[in-house]
């Protein structure tokens, strides 16, 4: 219980920050917002790294599959978002 409340506090505050920032994203950029937020939700990669490094076959195996999934998210997400946002231009 001693860790739960601080974590819950962080969670709630982060939700408010998220709502503040994201409501300002224009519909023009909603698709890159989705792929970009997918990329950063690939932060689960650090959980996967810890699991792969854990002792025991089952955690390592589950962690390895998670590591592959999360790496797809991170690399695929940031790259495809870059491809999209680089296309939005204004003619001179």
């Amino acid at each position: 219980m001693d860790t739960f409340l601080p974590l819950l506090t962080i969670f709630m505050l982060a939700v408010f920050v998220g709502v503040e920032v994201i409501t300002k994203v224009p519909p023009l950029l909603h698709t890159p917002l989705m792929s970009g937020s997918n990329a950063i939700s690939g932060i689960t990669i650090i959980g996967a790294l810890l699991s792969v490094a854990a002792e025991g076959t089952i955690p390592t195996m589950l962690g390895f599959v998670a590591l592959v999934f999360a790496s797809i998210n991170v690399v695929g997400g940031f790259l495809v978002t870059h491809r999209m946002v680089a296309m939005f231009r204004k003619k001179e």
Binding site: L29, L33, M34, S37, L49, P59, A66, S71, G76, R89
Partner: protein
């Protein structure tokens, strides 16, 4: 000492993620924003590698890490570089799936690893397992529908569907309670994931076609919530912060999409609208003898005298891959002195922002892509509105008939422009399954053809004229 350094790096990475999303509030800063986010990710990964447990996991552990990262990066990189812009909804669906899957797997790994997990860890593991598996399989179903593989694009209904869903949800919660009571049995968690997976499939199959933007946005939100929940499993701040940002983002987009269809989230999730919600009523009554078919030459003549033209793209433009031809047409009209703008409905296409990405790919200046509320008042001063592959989002019935399935849905007021040209292959109804009186209106002419061919013919006719 090293753990303080790691936590500080996580804090920096979290801040970079927030600035990254903030960058997406304007096209000018979007590229930099995305790079900031990627930098944050790199910092977080490097800091985690410095963790004593990870660094000290030996040759085998580090070998697996390198192999996993390389394999995932190769798959993700290939997907990202090869995917067509028209297929972006599928790409986001796949990314949602992997995000949810990773969370469920990590939660399982922690449960298997922990000798005596705390109640917080056990409860968070259960939440990650349920949301993660629902997200993984729900997103794969969404991908399948968008790609047109095995499942029909339309809603799938069967008897007692809702009862079964409620039973499955209760089953998942029951198994969850069992995991919390006795965390040593990994098999129970396995069954929980199985039940969650079936639930994910069943929750997504009733959602069809034009409702996909809502499903994709909601699954995006779930993948974030799963990551946040995994943060509670690992007692890790950065997962909680990032997960809640993504969860909030998905929920906001879901809400925007529902509002743009004037429907409740529940109504969309139950698949309560669509081609199988009843026979198509009164198509003959609406259309009989009133639909005027036209030729590219006639439309070219309409354009010739036009001061202002508005182009309304819909999912049909994406299907026909006509965005580049549409751009050529817009440039040609502008070179003849006509003002051209694009009217983008929030739910046009199969995911939020789908049309904007396609037109940006075709090099259309983003200042010309106008939002619905912004452009609606200008239709009265518009000489010609050209609709390419859109239907329900321009159906005036939404304003006039309270009994219609799309009643109250905000639409583009194209019928107020002087002339409306509709490019469409046939009079077949849109996703809502209802006839569109716009096609029979006095100021509307129909150009029956495939989107790409029609636009090419129009360009040729204008150049000839």
């Amino acid at each position: 000492m090293i753990s303080v350094f790691i936590d500080l790096t996580y804090l920096v990475a979290s801040v970079l993620f927030i600035f990254g999303i903030k960058g997406l509030t304007h096209p000018r800063t979007a590229v930099r924003g995305n790079l900031l986010g990627a930098t944050g990710m790199l910092l977080a990964v490097v800091a985690t590698l410095a963790d004593r447990e990870v660094f000290g996991s030996g040759v085998q552990g580090l070998g697996l890490i390198v192999a996993g990262v390389l394999l995932g990066s190769a798959i993700g990189g290939t997907l990202a570089l090869k995917i067509q812009m028209t297929a972006m909804p599928q790409m986001v669906a796949v990314l949602n799936a992997f995000g949810g899957g990773a969370s469920a797997l990590i939660a399982g790994a922690v449960l298997a690893d922990a000798a005596d997990p705390s109640t917080q860890t056990a409860v968070a593991t259960v939440v990650s397992g349920i949301i993660g598996s629902v997200t993984f399989w729900g997103s794969l179903v969404a991908f399948d529908k968008l790609q047109g593989l095995m499942l029909p694009d339309n809603p799938v209904h069967f008897p007692a569907q809702q009862v079964l869903n409620v039973l499955l949800a209760l089953g998942a919660i029951g198994l969850g309670a069992w995991v919390v009571a006795d965390p040593s049995q990994l098999t129970t968690y396995g069954w929980l994931v199985v039940v969650g997976s079936v639930l994910g499939i069943l929750l997504t199959i009733p959602i069809g076609g034009a409702d996909m933007p809502v499903a994709i946005a909601l699954l995006n939100s779930y993948s974030g919530l799963a990551a946040a929940s995994t943060g509670f499993v690992l007692n890790n701040n950065i997962l909680i912060i990032t997960g809640s940002l993504v969860g909030a983002s998905g929920l906001i987009l879901t809400q925007i999409m529902c509002k743009a269809m004037n429907r409740s989230l529940m109504n969309v999730l139950l698949g309560a609208i669509g081609p199988d919600s009843g026979p198509i009523q009164g198509a003959d009554e609406v259309y009989a003898g009133r639909v005027k078919s036209t030729s590219p030459e006639e439309v070219a003549m309409l354009f010739d005298g036009a001061k202002r033209v508005v182009i309304v793209p819909g999912y049909g433009m994406a299907v026909a891959q006509a965005q580049h031809q549409v751009r050529d047409l817009a440039n040609l009209l502008e070179s003849n002195g006509t003002e051209v703008e694009f009217a983008i409905h929030p739910v046009a296409g199969r995911m939020p922002g789908h049309m904007n990405v396609l037109l940006a790919e075709a090099n259309v200046d983003y200042d010309k892509l106008r939002e619905m509320d912004d452009i609606n008042p200008s239709f009265e001063q518009t000489d010609v509105t050209l609709i390419i592959g859109a239907n329900d989002i321009v159906n005036p019935v939404a304003r006039t008939d309270p009994s219609s399935p799309i009643a109250g849905m905000p639409i583009l007021d194209v019928d107020k422009s002087r002339t409306v040209v509709v490019v469409k292959r046939s009079l077949s109804p849109g996703f809502a399954g209802i006839p569109n009186p716009l096609f029979a209106a006095d100021n509307t002419v129909m150009l029956f053809a495939d989107g790409k061919k029609a636009v090419l013919d129009l360009i040729a006719a204008i150049k000839a004229g």
